[in-house]
């Protein structure tokens, strides 16, 4: 490869961790200012939310719900990754795939998939519908990113494998998969954030545990500190997952300069 471009990530470089903490602190201060100023039940004080979060996490109820939500997200992401990578690759690299799959993926991408929950519930049952809707929504960022990157794979790398006597399998293993990996990781990173947002909707539709159900039940009891405790637990887990994938992606891209 010629002169490699430096990949500059958009979020969380180590030196900016301090700014990140400062931003969080600012958010807390603003929240507390609003809570003190307006004195509304739906705007509890920061320490009330903190105390509630601590109690829920140590008592174990929220921990169990968080584990359940994480299991659902992990399973859904596994399904969306496998299908997203496969469909993205087929849409980019097979002539029938590009003619048939690409328009289907692009046409169904902006659809409000969340509205399919009642149908999925009927088709796949309670648990199945939750997994299906998260998988369906997170499928798109992975499939589209895989497709974009697979279309960009330099032809010269594949020609190199051809001149070494390699076949389609060798090209897939030694060129296509390593070349789309940064794109797959970008798609997965976006999918993870989406999954954490969607899991609430999926879990609050029929309440069978999970942080989404925890939040919904708290809403129904007008337990606002509980609502925010659940939201914080979910978003913290989402942020950690996002950062972990981002780091992996950054490392790989820095290593290969691609």
């Amino acid at each position: 490869m010629g002169k490699a471009k430096e990949y500059s990530g958009a979020l969380l470089p180590p030196l900016r961790a301090l700014y990140f903490l400062a931003a969080l602190l600012l958010l807390v201060v603003l929240w507390e200012a609003a809570a003190s100023l307006y004195q509304r039940p739906y705007l509890p004080h920061v320490w009330e939310i903190g105390e509630r979060l601590w109690r829920e996490l140590s008592a174990g109820e929220l921990v169990g719900d968080l584990q359940l939500s994480l299991r659902r997200i992990a399973l859904s992401l596994l399904i969306s990754s496998l299908t997203g990578i496969t469909f993205g690759l087929l849409a980019a690299r097979s002539s029938y795939g590009s003619r048939l799959l690409r328009p289907i993926i692009l046409a169904t991408y902006p659809m409000p998939h969340i509205t399919l929950i009642p149908i999925l519930l009927w088709l796949l049952g309670v648990e199945g519908s939750k997994i299906a809707v998260i998988s369906l929504i997170t499928f798109y960022p992975i499939a589209l990113s895989t497709m974009e990157w697979a279309l960009r794979t330099p032809r010269e790398y594949e020609q190199l494998i051809e001149t070494m006597g390699g076949n389609a399998w060798h090209k897939t293993v030694y060129v296509v998969i390593p070349s789309i990996l940064p794109g797959v990781l970008t798609g997965l990173r976006l999918a993870v954030s989406t999954a954490f947002a969607v899991v609430f909707v999926a879990e609050s539709f029929v309440l069978t545990g999970g942080v989404g159900a925890f939040i919904e039940e708290s809403w129904q009891r007008f337990d606002y500190a509980g609502v925010y405790a659940g939201m914080i637990a979910l978003s913290a887990a989402g942020m950690i997952s996002y950062a972990a994938i981002w780091l992996l992606e950054k490392r790989y891209r820095e290593k290969i300069g691609y």
Partner: protein, 230 residues
Amino acid sequence: MRLELREIAFSFGDLKVFDHLNASFNGGNLNILIGPNGVGKSTLLKIIAGILKPSRGEVFLDGAPPARGEISYLPQDNELLPWFTVRENVELPLKIRGISSAEGRKRAEQAMELTGVLQLADRYPRRLSGGERKRAAIARALVAEAKVLLLDEPTANVDPAGKEDIWRLLKGVAKERITIAVTHDIAEALLVGDFIYVLSGRPARIAEVTEGGERAWERLRSIVELYYRR
């Protein structure tokens, strides 16, 4: 060892790049292919490598069409896969042929030793200079035991010391195979080439073949004229 191009024709759309192109290259020499920009030097290498298919004509290696893996081609850029280390890149042709990893490792190390990149074996290509990348790619061609080595601008983006290293290495490597290197630098070609092939005209043909050394410099003026003839 002899590589022959017989009656090669090739077009990009309406543009006839080659028509009735004939040439032969012998093993044991460093053959340099020169010609003005856009004449078709890289295209000709790609045709020999089997990457581009000519609309007519054939390439023969010792009287028969070359088999896959017999020709090693080094593009100007992207000569190494960026996601593999130097060692992994060099071992790749052997992996493709299903040669055991222990044997592959041994042969790769010998080749890297010869081309002076053994100490860089665990580096990724982006951490190499232009010259180091070329030498690593040459090591891969040696491991593949290709009968023909094709190099597109092997000294582009390489500093002067690196250029000398590469040409010295190629002089040695060329003794045991058919080597064709493309360059647009006439002086460099005359300085290092055993035989200089001048590609000129539209459709392009091999307009002159000159033996390297002192005599080549006497032909400099006519070579320069060929550059600008259309």
